[in-house]
Symmetry: C2
Subunit: 381 residues, 2 copies
């Protein structure tokens, strides 16, 4: 273990083993961009995989190379943090289909020498997990101490034990769901239609041309509303006007919430590929873990020795607490070990990305319990 | 009263009295397209004004001239219906700023001889009400027996007694609010940005060219999600696929909810003007009845003799019950007569447009009570 592995390093690997996808296509090679933090111990038993959400990336605890901003979960991952890089070897990989270095629609199609664009095969959450498993093979990690993720990361954290029950000791699933609802699909479809309505999208073949930033910004704006609670928006913005005191009786951003949303939309287009947005939202919409297991969610976890920790937020209306609760019911029905807590936060779905001390305590405690075999178990009882 | 006034007739009037708007501009003349149903009685005491929602129109109980569909509220308005055209003289006018015959951005600017487009002045809900009052003057109606509206129609129904307390005996406010919240504004801003992102919008000057249908369709899709409840979407669509049994692993509409939304978006563009959508959403975002009255909602109704009937729906998350309740609190504080009921419906905000027997009963009973002076009052007590 060299010292440079203690910090984010924009690691990248090209795995030449073909990857058979749920949709039937085969990727002949998979590129994975990832970051690691901390050191793998001698028996490779302290590895934690963090799975990121829709528009996040591998820079969980290191500076983003484009925006220069800190890692997206630095209050959770780092020295002395709940996911403590002094004790754990933390891996975070850019998901398959994304645009931060892993294979996705902006990658070069070896068959043509040009970007795949819409010729990239449609992928699933399980395909993302399969690619992560190949990365772990490459890193020499047979079994994860934990897989942890929020939102789409939580879908992967759920899919991991269902796909590789022997390879994961515990799973932390935050503000997530076992299947996308009609309303979830509807919001994503609005975003995709906004991208596709932009003439600069050109059927996806915009690489080397002006990208469809206007459409992608609208998609991001619509999605962003779903990440926030009504109460949180009211608390933060209410009907407050911009610096000027009076309405303009025009179409400039009069209200602070308007200029905030516009900024969210525009700044997103600097760091994200529009086609990747299409592919990843599609993977989320296709996600239905029960369907992959004969229609019964409990069957996804039958005989599973993984320990689960579920966390939801009371103001999250994208993946409300009821979704986490139904996962816990399925885990209980499957006889799996599951703990569950609904946390209070005014910030809606976005809460999992914020500094929520109670969430930190729950995850810290859960990981310590997983890490330390219980004394009873140690005595062979 | 000629017999043809008993049916919708695509009536239209050009009022040459100038209209001073909240934004400071003056419209030299106002065109109003309206429909009437039933007959005005001898003392003109049986007039009911129905105010329509964002994308609705004056065809409340008569065939829409473009779509050929029945009126948008035929289960509520008609012979023997709660708003009974055998007993009441019902008026419904296309709101100022819209595109079904009343003055709006698609109207000809007399100063240039070309459509106003974005030169049309920004209007408010109160401006819409002022234009309706001018129409009533034209029709010889000094005082309304009732003003009735849902959603944006409810905003007008609230604004009516606040603006013309002497001219309205009662107000029925359904699934509405006294001010647009940050989340309400945010959704509208997404829609406006979707329209404006469409290159065919051309800064609003698209008349005579291809209109920005792609952007307007996206705007409608985003808005449409807010009109439905999560539970209603789940009940209606769930994760059901289109006729084929399996996922396509592509970007066609695989899920029924996707094709439903796409249809809602596209069909909307056949009947609605994109600029009108911008202007009317802006008017709604500006709506804050308390702000118009020194910041205290109760002051909007101080000393008001109007009788109010408030109705909300339990699954409406666009204008949730809490909004109606805060209006009732303000009415109570102002000493105004107010009844309030929250109705159960799985259909979210859209419920007010559907056949909800309980809503019909509430409105029927309220109007009969308003129509018939109480015996005690009749005896001068």
């Amino acid at each position: 273990m060299t010292s440079d592995q203690r910090f984010g390093l924009q690691r990248h690997v090209r795995l030449t083993q073909p990857l058979a996808l749920d949709g039937g296509a085969v990727l002949p090679a998979v590129e994975i961009a990832y970051e690691t933090y901390g050191a793998l111990n001698a028996d490779a038993s302290n590895a934690i995989l963090i799975c990121h959400a829709l528009t996040m990336d591998q820079h969980v605890a290191s500076k983003h190379p484009i925006t220069g901003k800190p890692g997206w979960w630095e209050q959770m991952v780092g020295s002395g943090r709940p996911i403590d890089t002094d004790r754990y070897f933390v891996i975070c990989a850019n998901v398959l289909g994304s645009c931060m270095g892993s294979s996705g629609p902006a990658s070069i199609d070896p068959a043509t020498g040009a970007p795949y664009a819409m010729a990239f095969p449609v992928i699933t959450i399980r395909d993302m997990v399969r690619a992560q498993a190949m990365l772990l093979d490459h890193l020499g990690i047979a079994r994860l101490m934990a897989v942890v993720g929020g939102s789409m990361g939580g879908m992967q954290a759920l899919s991991w034990p269902a796909t590789y029950p022997e390879r994961v000791a515990s799973a932390v699933v935050i503000a997530s769901t076992a299947r996308h609802s009609a309303q979830n699909i509807a919001f994503h479809e609005v975003g995709r239609q906004a991208v596709m309505a932009d003439p600069n999208w050109r059927g996806g073949a915009y690489y080397g041309h002006t990208p469809p930033t206007a459409g992608l910004a609208v998609a991001r704006m619509a999605a962003h509303i779903t990440y926030l609670s009504e109460a949180g928006l009211t608390e933060k913005f209410g009907r407050k006007l911009q610096e000027r005191d009076t309405k303009t009786f025009g179409f400039d951003a009069d209200f602070q919430v308007e200029s905030y949303l516009r900024h969210q939309g525009i700044s997103f287009t600097d760091r994200f590929d529009a086609n990747a947005y299409l592919y990843i939202t599609r993977a989320m919409d296709y996600f239905d873990l029960a369907e992959e297991h004969g229609g019964r969610l409990a069957d996804a976890f039958k005989g599973n020795a993984t320990r689960f920790c579920l966390i939801s937020f009371d103001t999250d209306w994208l993946y409300p607490t009821a979704e986490s609760r139904s996962i816990v019911h399925a885990l209980n029905a499957a006889g799996a070990a599951a703990s569950f807590v609904e946390l209070k936060s005014p910030f809606g779905h976005d809460a999992f990305l914020l500094d929520v001390p109670e969430m930190n305590r729950v995850i810290d405690g859960f990981l310590r319990a997983v890490e330390t075999p219980s004394p009873l178990k140690g005595r062979g009882l």
